[in-house]
């Protein structure tokens, strides 16, 4: 159990460093990194102070604490995936509007040019 906790702690720290570097390199927006950092921080806390996890697992009726951890992790990942889908959907909408607005602007410009051409003649 002790070595497992050490491994988890090291993995968490490595993951945090990775996320921080992605943010500083501009590959990940800070607002999306917060989610991952928070999650890692909670995992780190659970690895350092495992007693509350054991207790919660027992109270909620899980056979082993690891099952409880897996369950919580899976749940969080699902939630994160859903939120990512929402982000993608929002961006599709933005792109849709952008492409349309560019087309409308170009059309307006063309029509203006055409009008000024005919009025010049």
């Amino acid at each position: 159990m002790f070595t497992l906790r050490i491994i988890v702690i090291i993995a968490c720290i490595l993951f945090m460093v990775l996320v921080a570097r992605q943010v500083s390199a501009g590959r990940l927006l800070l607002r999306y990194s917060l989610l991952w950092l928070t999650l890692t921080f909670i995992t780190l806390l659970a690895a350092i102070f495992p007693e509350p996890v054991y207790m919660l697992a027992g109270v909620l009726g899980f056979n082993t604490p690891s099952n409880f951890v897996f369950f919580v992790a899976l749940f969080f990942l699902l939630a994160i995936c859903l939120s990512l889908s929402a982000v993608v959907s929002r961006q599709s909408k933005y792109i849709n509007n952008l492409v349309q607005n560019i087309a409308l602007l170009e059309k307006k410009l063309q029509d203006q040019n055409r009008n000024s051409d005919t009025s010049d003649q």
Partner: protein, 233 residues
């Protein structure tokens, strides 16, 4: 009364000229929406001096038609009509299509292949089965009988233009948008039209994706149907 024909076109290089000429001969203003075509559609339109709204990327039929609605709103057209760029639709029916809107009886008018007995092209058997199913769904969730929900030959009055500028489904939009319109309290009406068999090009719905299409549209109508009462603004 300002009226404009919206002609969505995706890779319609072979048919676009005859379609636009048909509309011009019928005496209407029009705009071609080039939906990021990969063929010579845009070039041909420019060579002929057609009025084109050019989408830089392919948005799909929904995004293309919606930009037509936005153009109609911006230019303060009173009615806009969706008229496919593949030569399926017949411009001589436009007058009947817009009549209910001019008479103040409807906000959205759908041209239906199935309302009259006069024949014309009526799609394949399997597609008709799908259409019957969608009709049934719209009847349940919208309470109105629409015989040809996938028809892309439609006329929109001011309220429908306003609504579709705000929200319009991205892919396979026709049946879903009918339910949206009903849900927002718009009056939807059908008039009989005849359609021609598509000369060139293929339907926006491929054979492989038709199952996905039916599922997606059914789901969309279902979700709209069950969330409608709370969504009314």
């Amino acid at each position: 009364m300002k009226i404009i024909i919206i002609i969505p076109a995706y890779n319609e290089a072979d048919s676009i000229v005859s379609v636009v000429q048909e509309v011009i001969e019928a005496g209407y203003e029009y705009v071609v929406v080039n939906d990021g075509s990969k063929d010579r559609t845009l070039r041909i339109c420019e060579e002929h001096g057609f009025s084109v709204l050019n989408l830089r990327d392919n948005l799909g039929i929904g995004g293309a038609v919606q930009s037509g609605h936005k153009y109609a709103r911006e230019q303060e057209f009173f009615i806009d009509i969706q008229f496919d760029g593949d030569g399926q639709h017949d411009a001589s029916f436009i007058e009947e299509l817009i009549k209910p809107i001019i008479d103040g009886e409807a906000d959205l008018v759908v041209g239906s292949r199935f309302l009259s007995d006069e024949g014309g092209f009526r799609s394949t058997f399997m597609r008709r089965v799908g259409i019957t199913w969608l009709s049934f769904l719209i009847k349940i969730f919208g309470g109105i009988k629409i015989t040809d929900p996938t028809s892309g030959f439609r006329a929109c009055g001011p309220r429908a233009i306003e609504l579709f500028c705000r929200e319009y489904p991205i892919d396979y939009p026709e049946p879903e948008s009918i339910v949206t319109a009903i849900g927002q309290g718009l009056r939807v009406k059908e008039v009989p039209v005849m359609m021609r068999e598509r000369k060139k090009g293929s339907s926006s719905i491929g054979r492989l994706s038709s199952m996905y299409y039916m599922f997606k549209v059914s789901l969309a109508i279902f979700i709209l149907g069950i969330t409608r009462p709370s969504k009314k603004r």
